[in-house]
Amino acid sequence: MTSPLIRIEGLYQLFGKNPQTHMHLVKAGKTKDEILAETGHTLGLKDINLEIQQGEIFVIMGLSGSGKSTLIRHFNRLIDPTEGRVIVEDEDIMELDAKSLRNFRQKKMSMVFQRFGLLPHYTVQENVAFGLRAQGVGKEEREKKAKQWLEDVGLAGYENQYPAQLSGGQQQRVGLARALCTDAEILLMDEAFSALDPLIRSEMQDQLMALQDRLHKTIVFITHDLDEALRIGDRIAILRDGELVQVGQPADILLHPADDYVEKFVRDVNRARALTVETVMKPPTHRIDAKTINDALAHMRSAKSGYAFYVNDEGYQGFVSEENLAKVAKEKGKEPLCEDYYEDSFVISPETPLEEVIPQTLDHDHPLPVVNEAGELTGELSRDDLVQVLTHTPTSDAAGNDDASEDEGTAKGTSKEPPAA
């Protein structure tokens, strides 16, 4: 793995008058509430360590007040940490003086805000060009670029409108165009789509994904909506009361929530939509590469499975059952397996959402073969596996322990409900 583009090391944020003098309480492991009661200081972030790779969409999520905005504002130093380092491309941005920090913000990172943060007295085009203007780019060039980006986000023709004349969705497109216009490599998005209604929001998500396919930016995306996180995130970090509780790929989080807090988040998610086949399929145990029908029969009998997926050098070939092969074994047992003996069976692809394969999987007694684009058998998906993933609430790793019931009891009493999906 290449070295990460952004690295956050031991980041602490304690809000209040004298954060330094109370840091020992934080280090001693006191909780946010205890510290607030004792010192009047609010613990914003506690020992955050993160690595973000070039080109990924890294989602940070958590309930309201968990410190998401505080964390993302450290990336471009809108907030100075009480302790810790933020390293971007091997440069510690805590070391930058005012001028280099401005330069860093102009060139390296741009930001999209929840309530858009547009300048009401500038036209849409001037807003988009704002970053370039701060850089001192000439009027003609910045207008040309702004126009281009407005077109890319689907707002051609709105150049001379003022933000107040646009709908929320359109305003956020302006915000996005403004962020893209500086060609910064890193995009910070703080609940960028949260203020939009669901339809517009999913439109914006699609647009962001489409742009990302083209631009390959590194995106730090904040949301409190798990569906959104699962939809766009390559990796997801979950924040609770200023602490990271889990960082992982979407399927990881869904299938193996680290604790009750995460579990509550994922409980209401539509897993059939959020998970793809490859995240729940099992390795292909019923795979045979037998030369002849007899070989195949022998395999199936020893495995006691009654069916198999036949694979040769060219990849997945077809589905065979013991019952049907046994019928022809007497006469043709020595002949190689070929198309004539394959049975009808669905083949599913690893990237398909579970939702789309539910009917076929449930219709078949045997697992369905999962075959990738290259024609290779990568796994199998059984009815039982599917049903289990879709119906059982995931048991969190913590709850798997012996003292789980006790743990759960106390946790449920204190923690807040997750937002409705």
Partner: protein
């Protein structure tokens, strides 16, 4: 135990010596520096006189045309322009043209100076809590201290005339523009400021491209109030030699000329309404982009 029944006060003699020493001190200060300070204000006086003469001596129809032009440029409202024209004509028709022009000139100059001093002070207050905590009580004093009281040292220093009048008017009228500049900047949407910072603006760009434009509605309201307060001071300022509509009002009070008083008072009201309407509709027009659907 006399302090229980009687207020423990300074003896009469002590009080007298205190007053005499202070007065004497101030008098000798004004004797030695009065002239220097007067010289300092000479350019301002020259400008004031020049501007007043310009308004008084120019043909009346040129002045009216100029005012109507400004009105129309600022407000773009035919109704307002016609109204202003008619009221100015009536003011002249009743023989108050010259006084009105004098008042107009001193109000204009006072407003310009108030803006030039007040906005930077408001910016300073918005930037520093300490500046705010020092300036705020001073503004409170300036607004509540009876105007006559601070006229005394000004007159002792500079005598009777236009400049002391101008200073008195400014002291009385400048607080709103300072206060509302400060307030306006402090009320600027935090997220918009953050956005500006996130794109790496310099402190100057931040002030001039973001904070001041967004504070403008409040600053304009402050300027409007400053103008109104300056007009309210015109009569008092006339007591120390400021020419204009205040003089005849003063004369009417002492001689009980009821009609003269009413007419000149009405002329002041006319000026106030013109200033108010024009500056407000200019403010509205220049901020229309802030509201949706226009």
């Amino acid at each position: 135990m006399s302090w229980l029944t009687e207020f423990p006060q300074l003896s009469r003699r002590d009080l007298l010596t205190l007053r005499q020493t202070l007065d004497e001190g101030y008098r000798s200060f004004s004797r030695s520096y009065g002239e220097a300070i007067e010289n300092f204000f000479d350019p301002l006086l020259a400008f004031l006189v020049w501007f007043e003469n310009l308004l008084v001596e120019a043909p009346w129809w040129v002045v009216i045309a100029a005012i109507l032009g400004i009105t129309h440029y600022a407000a773009r409202s035919i109704k307002l322009t016609v109204g202003v024209g008619i009221s100015l004509f009536l003011v002249g028709f009743f023989g108050m043209w010259e006084d009105t022009m004098s008042t107009l000139s001193i109000i204009t100059v006072c407003t310009l100076i108030s803006i030039a001093l007040g906005i930077p002070m408001g910016i300073l207050m918005a930037r520093s809590h300490r500046a705010q905590s020092i300036i705020t009580p001073v503004l409170d004093i300036m607004q509540t201290m009876p105007a006559f009281v601070y006229l005394i040292p000004v007159v002792m220093l500079l005598g009777i005339g236009k400049i002391p009048g101008l200073i008195a008017v400014i002291i009385y009228a400048i607080p709103p523009v300072i206060r509302l500049t400060n307030l306006g900047i402090r009320l600027v949407d935090k997220e918009v400021l953050e956005a500006a910072d996130a794109y790496g603006v310099t402190p100057m760009q931040r002030l001039f491209n973001v904070q001041l434009p967004l504070a403008m509605p409040n600053i304009m309201a402050g300027i409007n109030q400053t103008i109104m307060m300056a007009l309210a001071m015109v009569v008092i300022a006339s007591m120390i030699g400021v020419s204009g509509l205040g003089q005849p009002v003063l004369r009417s009070i002492t001689n009980q000329y009821f009609t003269l008083g009413i007419l000149n008072g009405a002329a002041i009201v006319v000026l106030a309404i013109i200033f108010d309407r024009v500056s407000q509709s200019y403010a509205k027009r220049s901020q229309r982009y802030m509201r949706s659907g226009s």
